[in-house]
Amino acid sequence: MTTEEKIEYKVIGTRPIRPDGVEKVTGKAQYGADIRLPGMIYGRVLRSPHAHARILSIDTSAAEAHPGVLAVLTAKDLPAAEDKMEELGESAINVKEVSDNILASTKALYRGHAVAAVAAANAHVAEEALALIKVEYEVLPPVLDVRDAMREDAPLLNEERHTKSMGGKLSEKPSNIAQFTQFSGGDIEAAFAEADVVVEHEFNTSMVHQGYIEPQVSTSSWNADGTITIWTSTQGAFAVRSLVAEVLRQPISNIRVVPMEIGGGFGGKLPIYLDPVAALLSKKSGKPVKIAMSRTDVFEGTGPTSGTSIRVKMAAKGDKITAVQANLAYEAGAYPGSSVGAGAMCMLSPYSVENFQIDAYDVVVNKPKTAAYRAPGAPAAAFASESMIDELAKKQGIDPLAFRRANSSEAGTRMVTGVPFPRIGAVETTEAAINSAHYKSPIEGPNRGRGVASGFWFNAGMQSSVVAAVNSDGTINLIEGSTDIGGTRASLAMQLAETLGVKYESIRPSVVDTDSIGHNDVTGGSRTTFASGMAVFEAGMDIRRQMITRAAKLWSCSEDDVVYEDGGLRCKVDSTKELTFKEMAAQQPRTGGPIVGKGSLVARGAGSAFATHIVDVEVDPETGKVEILRYTAVQDVGTAIHPAYVEGQIQGGVVQGIGWALNEEYFYNDEGTMVNSSFLDYRMPTALDVPMIDTILVEVPNPGHPYGVRGVGEVPIVPPLAAIANAIADATGHRFTTLPMSPRRVVEELNGLS
């Protein structure tokens, strides 16, 4: 489906097999845990059993004496880190806090917080040694609820933390509220007073985990010359390099990060946890050290996304949303830096709303430091706002999608930050949903209902760098530094093939280590196909220019008379002069040597993504179980480079959203222990829990990209929470405002049991 005149592409829009595919279906691809180095030993990390405790002492002597143990590490072995912020792609983090999160120094701030590490001949021996480390704790009361943590009398995680408000102002008293931000515009009081209808609710969501199947793992060698090599699976090898350099206080050039294949991330593999620990254990033992997390370590010791408490008051007059007041409190976990800012900024972006006030609180609690998770901050905010919009539409007697269409953002609409949108596809997406076969079909039968919701994500640009080397036979090696987490080798090679007019199969893309290419920011923010794609386009154009120059020389004509088209060169003034790409490639030794195209840039003009989802559910009122009957996701994808992988991103995001809506949660006991830290009790959807996920790709090309690419990976997780809540409300007449809408919550509510 398209709205602008569609450009005819040769490669873009086709569905070729990904270059790394055969290795992955045969088990040959090397993921983080698959590396094995000569003399390698194994590390394990000791974690705090308490959610909040002062560390009084750590005695490692018995562990050091255990046969087979080669090194033991505590926070004392880490260099004192600088108290400064480091950019991590989508977010910035404080280096001192990164260091303290890697190995706790004075306080354990959550159950699972690393306090010591051991390297031994094998993992079993390392584990035995962990049991021999004696840590003396003074257990402190944990703060586990975001609203409780905000109270003045709440126990403090850090007595020296004060609330930072806009303009850098600090609160007088210390607080667990790390940051307060407000966005406002118009006159909400007047708008509420004049409204036809006002609705108000509080919404709550629990921490949820990205749930990537590959646990974190890192292997490191502290080499004899003082350099450090790290083999790890990460969303950003260069980010790992920068952070390890900061934490270990090493020059960046001393560290080489070799990106292994990555088994999922969704934002969770942006931070570092194990890399500096493995490096220091290697330094102490003189051997390469591999540390892998267990699944429980992953749940307890890595970054999930925030639990949230969101209060929303929303008004409508006629078919227009006239005022919104919202108060968002997000759990940052043990250190500041939740995704509340993004949540506040995304919440109303699908709509044009004149009068608003959004208050955002970043709050520390005794839970793991949160990390990014697919459109971080936006799903919970959309759960609240899109549920309220549904209520308003119902009260005004307007079809929920027609109501959304009537308020839809378009080019020129200002976000709550005041920034106006360029050409976006919000209207087209909503209309495609209205016109979909799914929405036009009837929803019948008892206990069945239909829900819709829309969502927004910014998408990111940032830095990318690629090199493309032309080989003498006309094939091309495309050297990139962006982690390929789900098919970007293919989407980048396709863009290069399109730019050069050559066959996709003639391009061999490689993701290389940090010594072998310029800096690339993380694979996050749905940026790789967009931003690295722009770099690839630049590299392709660079090759074209070089080839034109050389052809002009060969033909003794002006460069202006040489045309590069359809994968070859021709002379405008002499039709006998033609060279195919392959022939030109063969001429390299005689025309100036190797042709290497380069693209290195900060990508501006990331096009925002909009999505509208439709879901049908059936609720079993006797058991509270919600079955997803049918699901359609409509999304403006700009230009779908490889439609199959675009669909895959959408389908995957939707199913994560279904899990979040219905079953997933960090379930804590009163002591602050997550009691469901396994894939048995942290219930991610199985194949049997979901239907086929239908997708409708709307293509409103992004004017900021040569091929119109918009990031597609994140926005699909934004609408499902609210869409499903709205469907359940339609089926049962009950509005659920707390996630997950688990069978327990639903059956208790529907039968008045709670």
């Binding site: 698959d34 999922g264 699944r295 199985t686």
Partner: protein, 158 residues
């Protein structure tokens, strides 16, 4: 710790190794025998990433001790393709874009293969039921299920 001598048929080859009783089949495959195609996702039988065939049945190799495989027949993902010839399931996963990160893929291919050997015409519901022990977090399962259906077609044609 005394290590036991174990002899087993691994991907069609008589293989012997030494292991401690506490070592899982998964651990020995990966760390001792260098067969890293079998993946660890949870190490407690809840994700299926470590699925292998043991004596003709699909099992989680994290929940099998390596010592148990004395005189057994074990097939891992490395034993699925015949030389350069991919198994129809492997080809179907590629054609249908049924993998994103790919970490769960070997487990899904092993489990799907076990299904198709028993039920070459399994329908969508049966496929979803059979594969419920294998978690994928990237694809939403849509394209995986379609790939298995497509492999059934390919096998039927063969």
């Amino acid at each position: 710790m005394a290590r036991s001598y174990v002899s087993t048929n691994l991907n069609g080859t008589e293989t012997d190794f030494l292991c401690e009783p506490r070592q899982s089949l998964l651990e020995v495959l990966r760390d001792e025998l260098g067969l890293t195609g079998t993946k660890e996702g949870c190490n407690n039988g809840n994700c299926g990433a470590c699925s292998v065939m043991l004596n003709g049945r699909i099992v989680n190799s994290c929940c099998v001790l390596a010592v148990e495989t004395q005189d057994a027949t074990v097939t891992t993902i490395e034993g699925v393709a015949q030389g350069d010839q991919l198994h129809p399931l492997q080809q179907a996963f590629l054609n249908e874009a049924a993998l994103q990160c790919g970490i769960c893929t070997p487990g899904f291919i092993m489990a799907s293969k076990a299904l198709l050997e028993r039920e070459p015409n399994a329908d969508e519901h049966r496929i979803r039921h059979w594969l419920a022990g294998n978690l994928c977090r990237c694809t939403g399962y849509d394209k995986i299920v379609k790939a298995v259906l497509s492999a059934e077609q390919m096998q039927g044609v063969k």
